[in-house]
Amino acid sequence: MTTLASILMDGIAYGMILFMISVGLSVTMGLMRVVNLAHGGFAMLGGAFTHWAMAEAGLPFVPAAVVGLLAVMVLSVPMERVLYRPIYRMGELPQVLATIGITFIMIASVNLWLGSSLLSIRLPAAMSGAVDLGFRTLPTHRLYVLGAGVLVIVGLFVLIERTRFGIKLRAAVDHAGTAACLGIDTSRIFALTFALGAGLAALGGILGAELLPIDAYYPLRYMILFLTVVAVGGLGSITGSFVAALALGVLDTAARYLFPDVGTIFFYLAMIVMLGLRPQGLMGRA
């Protein structure tokens, strides 16, 4: 019984971190239909800027995280205009090649700037340590991630389903030409959405850094993790990514509790089974 509760708790905490680092990709790849393999790069840049703001500029965690988040969003606007505009029109394979190229440039830049060692982000005292839950303890940090994850999913739902911006975005994604004819400034919509995706990536990178520490090679190290969550969740579905992240998190954690020697195989088996049953993903649009 205690083991079951432990699995559920650790699993949901881990799943929420998976969700936080993948939700930005769900926006760029899922909604905007760009195979954005540079997603991890934006997460890494968010972490790198935050690390820099804390270590070099001496800021406390929260302002440093805001600096990291804003720096990535500001950087993403010219990147979208110069690099991603032509990429939108490419086929899937050229998109993969172009965005992985961007990833390598990001890795090399951070390597040159801050070196190849771990870029630690020290949490404030209020967020570190453990909370006693009676039958066991849970790292305090996970509670914050849980809260942030819920805020992000509610916020995105409202933004996409309930606001004018969301309506315009969905129209622009479904048919850019028609949307433009109706007077929607599609290029502005795309630029804003891309900045949102990059910002969410950065937020995930910063908040997930306890579990997936930031270093220059971060984008390649965890690329499969992001892609799995989005593919299993279904392209274009934020809720799908959320459900997929939690399911994969709980499953992977259960495997680690019960069969540690078998390794990460369960994670990939689950992916194969889920995609075999639902090739469009859990909540993908056919």
């Binding site: 971190i17 390597n111 190849s116 060692s117 305090t140 306890e210 090679y217 954690t253 680690r256 020697d261």
Partner: protein, 389 residues
Amino acid sequence: MKFNGLMGVALAALLAGVGSGAAADVVKVGVVASFSGPFAMYGKQFKDAIDAYVAEHGTKAGDHEVQFIFKDDGGPNPDQAKALTQELLVKDKVNYLAGYVFTPNALAVAPLIDQAQVPTVIFNAATSIITTKSPYFIRTSFTTPQVAAPLADWAIAQGIKTVVTSVTDYGPGIDAEKGFTKEFEAKGGKVLDAIRMPIQTTDFGPFMQRIKAAAPNALFTFIPAGPPAFAFVKSYADNGMAAAGIKFLGTGDLDDETTLQTLGDAALGIHTSFPYSAAHDSALNAKFQADLAKVDPGAVANFASVGAYDGTEALYRMIAAGGTDPDKAMKAVLGASWESPRGPITIDPKTRHVTQNIYIRVVERDASGKLINKEIETIPNVPDLGLAK
């Protein structure tokens, strides 16, 4: 620039050869290591240490001018290491080889150096069997069992009777688990559970819960430096393991000086065993670090720097005594002892591996607030326990 320098030396050597025989000959040392990619730290540490040694001792070993040629193998890549080594042997005609960060890379070049009869000093690659693959290999780093077994001895002496081992599930992790368990059980300790953790994992919460449930006196871990070690140490702190009375024992790979500061407060109080700590209290170590800082102001001394520094000492000894004669050179260094920044060391004439003190250290903050590995106990003259069966 480097190319011009090389040409200049080659020309000078040629002229000297024409003029006055072999009096001012150049002996070339090829250094193969990772200077780019995720493991670029090693190449940098090696080069800094060699530069510091050369700054201290000059470019001459005995009557011979020593020249280093660096090649980048980019990581655990045996094919690349082999190709570069071949190029060094055939094109650059090197008389000595050095470097080698990873076991597969070192193993791949064994047939080459055997055939070419080129003495090769391994600065890092830590699997015991490497030195058995060619009589021209010597090694100045350490092996995993050499570090793990003394820790088991020390644990018993501290009254630790039960442990759970949790190691990364790959070669060196399993070596460490075996080395520790064998010694620990031989001395009457009990291993309650042996967990092998998947290599990509960075969420260690479940393993911590499982260890906590077994309630041992301590956990023993081997985990490679980098993201996994960082997450493991965090997880140990966040899950309140210390408060539950479970001590942290590990090999020093996980908190070497280049990553120690990033671990932060979570690392305070953990115990590790290793041959080198930058906080080792000796005049030579202080001088070594001062000289390192002269060649590279941002340099941080760690096990890779001291492996390369002592390796360079071995090279200089071999070159001074043997010049370009490989067998004379090997004879000069086998059984040799000297004082290193890590403490006294000897090149074991049988295994050609370094016999050295292993230190038990605890992570503390020094007067300036920096995290250090403070040595609290010395286990003297430990040979490579991986081969001594």
